[in-house]
Amino acid sequence: MTTTASSAPETYDTPASRVPGVTTGDVLDGRVPDGSPATAWARRKLAYKLVNPANRRKFKIIVVGTGLAGSGAAAALGELGYDVHSFTYHDAPRRAHSVAAQGGINAARARKVDNDSIERFVTDTVKGGDFRGREVDAFRLGEESVRVIDHLNAIGAPFAREYGGALATRSFGGVQVSRTYYTRGQTGQQLQVASAQALLRQVDAGTVTLRTRHEMLDLIIDDGRARGVIMRNLLTGEITSHTADAVVLATGGYGNVFYFSTLAKNSNASAAWRATQRGALFASPSFIQFHPTALPVSSRWQSKTILMSESLRNDGRIWVPLAPGDERAPNDIPEGERDYYLERRYPTFGNLTPRDVASRNASEQITAGRGVGPLKNSVYLDFRDAIARLGAAKIAERYGNLFEMYTHATGEDPYKVPMRIAPGAHFTMGGLWSDYNQMTSIPGLFVGGEAGWGYHGANRLGANSLLSACVDGWFTLPYSIPNYLAPLLGQPRLADDGPAAREALARARSRVDSLLAVDGQHGPTYFHRLLGDILYAGCGVHRTAETLTTAITAIRELRERFWTELRVAGTGDHLNQELERAGRVADYLELAELMCVDALDREESCGAHFRGEHQVDGEAARDDELWAFVSAWEAPGDGTFVRHHEPLSFDAVPLQKRNYR
C-alpha cells in the first residue's frame, strides 16, 4: 500500500456557499491521532484514561436505543461495572431495526487465500465511500471487525458454516474478495437477537436498568455538557427527566424522512435532531443511500418499500428490455433484446457494482422509459441463469427466505419469473458529527451506529452497516467513554430535577402540547407522505440545483401547513401513536430542509450524492480541490445554517477516481 503524503491540501479555504441563509463556520478538530492511520487505534487506546473498577459504578451512563450499537454499548458498559440506563421505544430490545438487515457483516479476518487484508478492507471502505469519510475510522473498523465476529458468534449468532465447520463467507457489492459473514438472509436478526440477549443478561445481573416503551424527546445540557435526556413514557404519556454523566445516542438513521423507505415504520430522526437543536453538529445530511434492490412501490397506500438483500446480486443478473416501453413478459424477451446494463458498462464489477452506481444506473434506465412492471418503475433481477447452473435447490439454500418474502409481497414466483427491483431510500450516511472518540460536538454526548456519520463517506459499502454498529457498541464506545468520564470522578451529577433538567422538561412538554393544540384536519401521515414525494423528486437519486431549490420552497410551505392543518387525535396521557408520529414528522420537516440545503451547497457529485451538474461520461464527478471535507451543520432553527467543516486527508488510500469498469 502506498503511503504518499496526505492528499488533502495543507490549507484551503472552503468555498463560500451559494445557498441563501448559509454561512461558513469553523474548522473542526476530529481529534485524530497523528501519524500512521494503520496504528492510530492502538496508540489512541493506550492514551485513553481508565476508570478504576471500584469507581465505575459511580458513573451513570444513559444509552438511548437498543439496536446493535445501543445494546452492545449498554451491555459492554454494564459488564464493565458502570451504572447503565438503557431506553428503547420498543416493547422489547430485540425489535430494534438492526433486526431487519439481511445480507451480512464484513470482517477483515483474511482467513482465506483470496488476498484480503485489513488494508484492503480499508481501501474498499474508503473508496466505496467516495473519499468522504475518515480514513482512520475505517482502520479502526477493520481492526475490531475480527473480534466482533468472534464475540457475536460466542454469544449466540449461529453464523453460516462450511461443511468442515469453519465460518462461511460470501462477497458483497463493491468488493472483489469474500469477507462477508452471514446467517442465511437473517444476519441482522441473529446479531440483534444475540446482542439484545446480552443486554438482558446485564438486566438480569442488575448492571443495566432497561426502560422499554420510552421515547427520547429532548437532551439536557448544562454547562455545555450533555447531562441527560427527557423521556416520554409511551404508555402513560408521562414526561420525565433522567440525568447522567454521559449520554449515548444509538438511535438509528433517518431514511424514513422519504416516507417510502426500507426502514421500519417507527425509525426516526427525533433524538439526533433534538441533539442538533441543542448544538450538536449534523454531518452530511444529504448523503442517503438508495438501495438498488428494494421492491418497487406498487400503490399509493403502500406503507414502505421492502428491501431484498444485496447478496442476491451475487447470483442474480440485472437487466431491462433494450426497447423502451417493451410490454412483453420478461421470459418472452429473447436474450438479444435484453440489456444487462451493469455487466455492459462495468465489466469488472458487473452486477456487484457499489450501491450508488447500481441505483443510479437503474434510475437512468427507468427515466429513459425502459422500466418494467405495471408502473414501469423497476428493473429485472433474474435468477434464470443461476438456477440453470446451480439448480433450484442450491439457490433455495442461499436465498430461500428472500424468495419467499418476495412471493409474499408480490404474488410472483422468482424461481419462474425475474424479480423486479427499484432504488429505495435506505441507509443514511449522514448523522451526528463525532470525533475519533465517537463524541459529538457536545461534550458527554456520544453517538454509535447509523445515528452518527462515521465510516461510510458518501456511500455505504454493503455489509458494513452491521459491522459499524457492532464495533461502535461493543468495542469503541466502551473504550472512549471511560476516557471522558475519568476526569469527572468526584464531580456531582446534575440532579434529575436540577434547573437544566427542569428547563428541558418544560420545553419538551410545551412541544407536545403545541402538537396537540393545532386542531386541523389531517393526520401526521398525510404530511409525511407529501414530504416523501417532495424529497424523492428534489433530493433523490439524481439532484440538481433546480430540483433542490424547488424542494426547499415546498418543504417550507408544507411545514407551515403542518402547523395549521395537523390533527392529533386523542390526548397526551395514554398510548397515542398519532402523537408519536406527529412529533417525528415535525422533526422530519425541519431535517428535510437541511438535507436539501446540504445537497444544494455541495457543488460536486460523490457517492450517493449525485448532482446532475457535476458528471463526466455519466459518472459522478468529485471535486477534491474544493470539497474534500465533511460538512457539519449548525442549524439553529431560524432558517439560517452554518457549515462547519472537517478537512479529510487520505494517507493509506490516496485520493483516486472511483472506477468500477
Binding site: 473480534r147 449461529p158 437473517q186 437477537v193 443478561r201 421492502i306 468495542f475 384536519q521
Partner: protein
Amino acid sequence: MKLTLDVWRQDNPAGPGRLETYEVLDATAEMSVVELLDRLNEQLVESGADPIAFESDCREGICGACGVTVDERPHGAQPNTPSCHQRLARYSDGDRIRIEPLRSAAYPVIRDLVVDRSALDRVITAGGHVAIAAGTAPDADAAALDFAAAEMALDFAACIGCGACVAACPNGAAHLFVGSKLAHLAALPTTKAERGRRARAMITEMELDFGPCSSYGECADVCPAGIPLTAIAAVNKERLRAVLHRGND
C-alpha cells in the same frame, strides 16, 4: 374492494373492550392486514375519529412487533405468515373480517390491538443468554460447529418473538418460543457450560406466566418463522437433562 371490519376497541388495560364496525372501500389485494389498518386509520383521522392503536414496525416479517388476531386466528388465515405479510388477496369484495388483539392470559391488552408481551422477555432475561463478556470470546473458527449443526441452530434461532404461538395455544403455552431458544443455544459450542442452568432458569420463569403444553400443534401452524414442532420437545429434553446433570452445568 369493499371490506367490513369488526375491530376490537379498548381504551385502557382496565377498560371494557368492544367490537366496532368500520368499512374500507378501497382495499386492494396487495395490501397487508396492517396496511388495511393504516388505511382505516387514515379514514378515521380525516373524519375526526380516534384511530386504532396497533403495533407493527419493520413490516418485513422480522421484527415481531406486529400480530393481531384475524377471524380468531393469530396473524391471519395464511399459515406461517406474520400480519404484516398477510395479503388481502384471499378476500373478496363485500367480505367481513374480525380483527382483535393477540389473545392470551399472559398478554394484557394495553389499548385496542396492542398487548403487553413482556412475559416473553422475562423468560429471556431469566436465562436466555450466554455468559461471555465482550473481549473474552474464543476464535470463532476454533470451536467446531459443523454445517448441519449450524443449520439446525439456525432453524430454531429464526424465532422473531412475535408471541403468536402463545396466542394460538388453547393452553396459552410458550413452549415453542422457549424451546426454540433452548434448542438454538444448546447447539452452540460456546454455550454448553451453562446449558443446564439456562434450562432451569428459563423453564421456571416460563411456568410463572404461561400454561402447560398439550402438544396441540397450533403454535407451529401460525409461527411466521416456521419454527418446527420439535422445539417443544426441546423444553422437556432440556428440562430432563438439567435434572440429570444438576450441578454439572
